[in-house]
Every structure is written in structure tokens, then in C-alpha cells.
């Protein structure tokens, strides 16, 4: 696959080498290799329990996930050495599968604090309330979010669709270098799916990248990936282009698993 990269001289944003990781001593990821270059959109598909969300959690630095061996480089530095907040400040963003409610904490205030942490890290001046609100207004239109969401507490009482849209909205404001979307499409109706996809597509730039984790092919009708990886039993079984996703939809994951079994 590497030869397909338009500019092979470019350094990958994310480079995972032989990553083995698990929870409570139970191995889940068994030798993951993956490189994501600037400007690319990768889709990670796979059946339930294949380790998709574990990979997202390990990359974001969630507590309780143990890396047994392997290496993860992020813009050339050892990602696994960084605290979760440091990873975030370096531009790694995780859109949560289950966004967390934080009662009493105003959404605007929360997002402004987050953005300013990232700006501080980049050596940029912090935005004041007025500058921040201007930015927010701009980005809200993109996601067709109601302004009242910003006045409410973070995710509190949001519907499932609102929570997911809010994740993409936060992503639009924080402008990450690497965005990991963990099953952002689950629980979305078709209209919400379109809005979320539009947001993601608009945010796509030559200097950032996206890792889209999904169970269904459906999302990939709207977000067109450069690469599709199939994860099963803790390994990437196959990598292809969009065609692979369509094939999966047609034949199901069993097809690949059987093929893999036969090859063993």
C-alpha cells in the first residue's frame, strides 16, 4: 500500500508498529501495523469485539489499557509516553462513541478552555470570549447545531444525535491534526449522518488526517476513505480501498474471517 501514497517522502502523522495491547491482562490488539499520512482518510472496520474501540482508547491514552509491546509514533514522537491531555494538545482528537455528560459545566466555557489549552501548547495567544464566540458561530453553521446547545451543560440531556454532532462540532473548533472518530455513525439517522459527514469532509485538509472507525459501510457513502482496513481478532486482516468496504457489505465479515481461517 505504501507506494500509493502521493508523496512517500512525507512523514506519517501516525505510525503504529506491531502494537500489542489489552485490558486487565487480556490481549485484544495482536500486532497492529498502520501508517497514516497527512491528507489521508482511513476507515477502520470490523465486527463487534474486534478491537476497534480498544485501538482508539490506546491511542487517546485511556486509563486501564495496557500496551504490552509495539511502538506508536505521532509526528515522529513516542505517543505512548504522553499523558492523555498532552496528546490532545498535540492535536490528537477522539470523537467518543459515548460522549460523556458533565453536568454544571457550560459547553461554551468547556470548549473555550480546551481550545486555549491547545493554543497555549502551540505558542499561540489565547482567544478571548469575543474572538471565541465568533469562531464558534462560524463552526456551528457547519453542523447545523442550535445555539442553545452551547448554553447548556456539556452533553447533559442531549439526544444521541446531538451528542455525536457536538463531538464533530468540538472537532471543528479544535481543528485537530489527527481525528479519530469512534463509531460516530452509530445511532444516527440518515439526516444526522449527512450533517456529520459534511462536517468531517469540510474539515479535511492536506495537513490533517482522519481515522474513521465504523461498523457499517453506510458512513463511507458520505465520507470517502483513501484506505479501508478490516480489523478482526485484534489484527488488520486486509487493507484496500472503498471497494473493500462495499464487498464487506455484500458478503459480511464472515467471508473474510473464513478466508483467513483457510489461509491459516
Amino acid at each position: 500500500m505504501r507506494d500509493q501514497h502521493t508523496d512517500s517522502m512525507k512523514q506519517p502523522i501516525l505510525e503504529i508498529t506491531d502494537l500489542n495491547a489489552g485490558v486487565e491482562g487480556k490481549p485484544i490488539l495482536k500486532g497492529i501495523n498502520l501508517a497514516i499520512y497527512p491528507g489521508e482518510v482511513h476507515a477502520l472496520m470490523g465486527p463487534n469485539g474486534s478491537g476497534k474501540s480498544t485501538l482508539a482508547a490506546v491511542l487517546a491514552g485511556r486509563e486501564g489499557y495496557e500496551v504490552a509491546s509495539g511502538r506508536v509514533l505521532y509526528d515522529g514522537q513516542d505517543l505512548l509516553e504522553l499523558d492523555p491531555e498532552e496528546r490532545a494538545r498535540c492535536g490528537l482528537f477522539l470523537a467518543f462513541q459515548y460522549p460523556v455528560e458533565i453536568p454544571g459545566v457550560n459547553s461554551t466555557y468547556f470548549l473555550k478552555a480546551a481550545l486555549n489549552e491547545i493554543r497555549k501548547h502551540k505558542g499561540q495567544a489565547e482567544l478571548d470570549a469575543i474572538e471565541f464566540l465568533e469562531l464558534v458561530k462560524q463552526r456551528m453553521e457547519l453542523l447545523e447545531l442550535g445555539e442553545d446547545l452551547l448554553r447548556r451543560s456539556v452533553n447533559e440531556g442531549f439526544s444521541g444525535g446531538e451528542k455525536k454532532r457536538n463531538e464533530i462540532f468540538q472537532m471543528a473548533v479544535l481543528e485537530p491534526r489527527l481525528a479519530i472518530l469512534d463509531e460516530t455513525d452509530s445511532g444516527l439517522d440518515i439526516d444526522a449522518l449527512k450533517i456529520v459527514s459534511k462536517g468531517v469532509n469540510t474539515l479535511r485538509r492536506p495537513d490533517n488526517a482522519q481515522l474513521v472507525i465504523t461498523h457499517y459501510q453506510r458512513l463511507l457513502n458520505y465520507i470517502v476513505p483513501d484506505f479501508v482496513h478490516v480489523l478482526a481478532e485484534g489484527r488488520i486482516l486486509r487493507t484496500g480501498d472503498r471497494q473493500l468496504a462495499l464487498e464487506l457489505e455484500d458478503k459480511g465479515y464472515d467471508w473474510l474471517l473464513k478466508e483467513q481461517g483457510a489461509a491459516r
Binding site: 491514552g61 486509563e63 454544571g104 466555557y109
Partner: protein, 483 residues
Amino acid sequence: MMSTATETIEGLVQRDYKYGFYTDVEADSAPPGLNEDIIRLISAKKQEPSFMLEWRLKAYRHWLTMKEPDWPHVHYPPIDYQKAVYYSAPKRRGEGPRSLEDVDPKLLETYEKLGIPLKERERLAGVAVDAVFDSVSVGTTFKDKLAERGIVFCSFTEAVQQHPDLVKNYLGMVVPYTDNFFAALNSAVFTDGSFCFIPKGVRCPMELSTYFRINAANTGQFERTLIVAEQGASVSYLEGCTAPMRDEHQLHAAVVELIALDNAQIKYSTVQNWYPGDEQGRGGIYNFVTKRGLCKGRNSKISWTQVETGSAITWKYPSCILLGDNSIGEFYSVAVTNHYQQADTGTKMLHVGKNTRSTIVSKGIAAGHGQNSYRGLVKVQKSAVNARNFSQCDSLLLGDKCGAHTFPYIEVKNTTGRVEHEASTSKIGEDQIFYCNQRGLSTQDAVNMIVNGFCKEVFRELPMEFAVEAQKLLGVSLEGSVG
């Protein structure tokens, strides 16, 4: 290997109590112990009229018959009341008229360090301060300016000497010396405090404030505050307190009485930051306080707002007696217990008059091994037609070694009364912290943000400057309480 900085929730680090310094001043102290001679000595030092001494002695004799309450949900070794010192005052330099200019510069410096400048030029704009150091008031700012409107704001000692009739009339009206063990003790030995009198129709043009500082070792602080708002008068009063860090426990037993006549309003805000003891539970103030307001007149209103972050033990129930028809009582409270702190705090709302209304919003935060109890009584008497109460008690737990307890008591003797009680207990979840981390916020900032969000309804009741201070204080109090 995976490295997450988030350690376990038990990872408590030493908390930084920045007011823990001690001022080295020469003190005029009574010998330790409590007896009638000590009480006579205090009264003589204060040059009190005889009615005060008699009142004190009656209180003392009553106290001897009383037992220390054992019902609060707090635990501490027995207090030896004969070991404490009941009077300690910084020695005055020479004789002559007492004004702020005569105050020992060391004392002025102390208050400056505490962020309460008393000197003319640097005073806090819009806030008049009475500074109480151990047993005595060292000075009161803006006294003359307030006097122009007929407002009396001075130390209790001065009030007894210069306004004996007012004191005689109101002292003990709300909290009689027979009220409870600690109130009786206070009545016998109280040494100073603040006195405010807002005459009919006057709205106090600035915040009034008392800053209490315990300095000397082994000294109890027993102060008394009395605030009277006459018909149509209104006042907002702030109270702040700190003490040096010591390994021994120190006793603080105060009494606050508020009296609001017809259409009068009193707003009383406290940010209590006594030394809480160290992370092992050594030292800290025992804070046994009786605070009560009397809505004596029609349409009167008394509002308590407290942010309790300090003390090893807090025993305190700022209450309202809603006597006047249509009167309103409010209680907004944030109580934080970290390390081995214990708090048993809440309020009593006693509805006597018609159409009386009360609101209780209590936010308890427990971290470390802290134990936080809300104890509240809402009592609607037969006479209280159409009384209304709304209570909300929320607890937030940080970690799994702490405890939150709620003891609500409701007594309704009039069928037209309506009493609502809501309660909740929540934990700061690791998923919440991680969510914040993933957006670039440190764990400490995340905790502060969540805690401040939790306390929002109370903080917005505080005067502006105080709200900012309270938020910062909460941050310091909970530093290191999570990961």
C-alpha cells in the same frame, strides 16, 4: 509502556494552606482555664457595664449544667475546656485614642498578607472591614463614612460601651444563652466580634465585612456578631476566617444573630477557611458555631450563603426563624471536606408567620477521607398558613474513602404547607476526567471545572469578589484529591 499520569484516586498530595503563618506579637493573655474569675477578668478587660457581666455569669452557670451534644455525625476526642485560653489580645502600644493609625504595624501586615489591607489608601473599595485578631477587634474601616448614614459598624466591645441600649435590647434575642452548649459557652466568654445596626429605611451603601483571624496557640476564639436591620433597611455582610497551621486542635465557638424588622433584608455570606488540619488529620480548627436569623417583621428576608472549606470539624446550622408574615429565609451552602475533615452542617427553617417561604440549596463535596453530612430541619408551625419550602441537597464524591450523608427532618403542622425536598449523590467519574483530558484539560482543571459547575447555584448568590475567591479556594482545597 503506556503511561497515563492519572494515578489512583487515593493519590492525595499535601494541600497547600497559604494562610498558615503565625504573627509574632506580644500578647496579653489570660491563664488557661475557665471559671467565674476568668469571666470577670474578660468583662473587666472590656470595661463592660454590669448588665454584661451578669449575663455572662448566668450563661456560664447554665453552661455548667449542659452536656456537649453527641448527635452530630462527627468524631473527635473529648475537649478539655480547662486547657484552653479564653482571652488573648495583642498588646496595645501605649494609651490614647484607638484608631487604625495606632495599630501595631505587624498586625496591619498580617491582614495585608491575608489580602485584607486596612490602611486608608489601600482599603478594599466598597467593603468596610472589621478585623478581629484572636480575642479582639484591631480596627474597623470606613466607620465614619457609614456613621454619616446612621449606620453603626464597630467591634462588639465598642458597641457594648457606646450603644449599650441597643446591645441590651437585641443581644440573645435570637440565640439565648440557654440555646445550646456551645452558644452558652460563647455567651459566657465571648471576647469580641462585630456589631452592625442599620437604621430604619437605610440601605447600607457598601458591603460590611468581618475578618476573623486566630493567631495565638491554645487559644479559643469566641466571637459574637449581631446585625440588626430596622424597618426597610438592608445590608450585605461578609465574613472571612483563617488561622495558622498547628498540630493541636483549636476551638472556635461563635454566635451570630441577625434580626430583620418589617421589610428589612439581611444577606450574610461566609467564606470559611479555617485551618483544616493536615492530610493525616493532625491539627485544625474545631468550628462549633450557632448562626441564626430572625425575620421578625413582615416581608423581611434573611439569606445565608456559606462556603465551608476549612476546619477539622464543622458543626454549624445557619437558620431562619420566619416569624413575620410573608418573610423569606434562604440558605445556600457549599461544604467541602478533604483529608480527614468532618462537616455536619445544614440549616433550620422555622415557619411561624403566614405565607412564609424558604429555600435551601446545599452542595456537599467530599474527598480523601472526608465525611460530609447535611442536616436540615424544615418546620411548619400551625400558624404558618401557606408556607412554602424548597430544599435541594446534592453531594459530590471524589474517590471512594469519603462519605456523604443527608439527614433531612421535616415537620409540617399546617395542611396548607408545601414542602419539597430533592437530593442527589454523584461521583466525579473517571470517564468525565478522561473526556476532559482528551480535550486538552489537565485532571486538576477538570476537577475544578466539574466542582465549580456543581456549586454554581450557590456561587452566584455570593457577592462578586467573594465568588471569585470562593472558586479559587475550592480549587486549592481539592488540590490533589483526584489522581
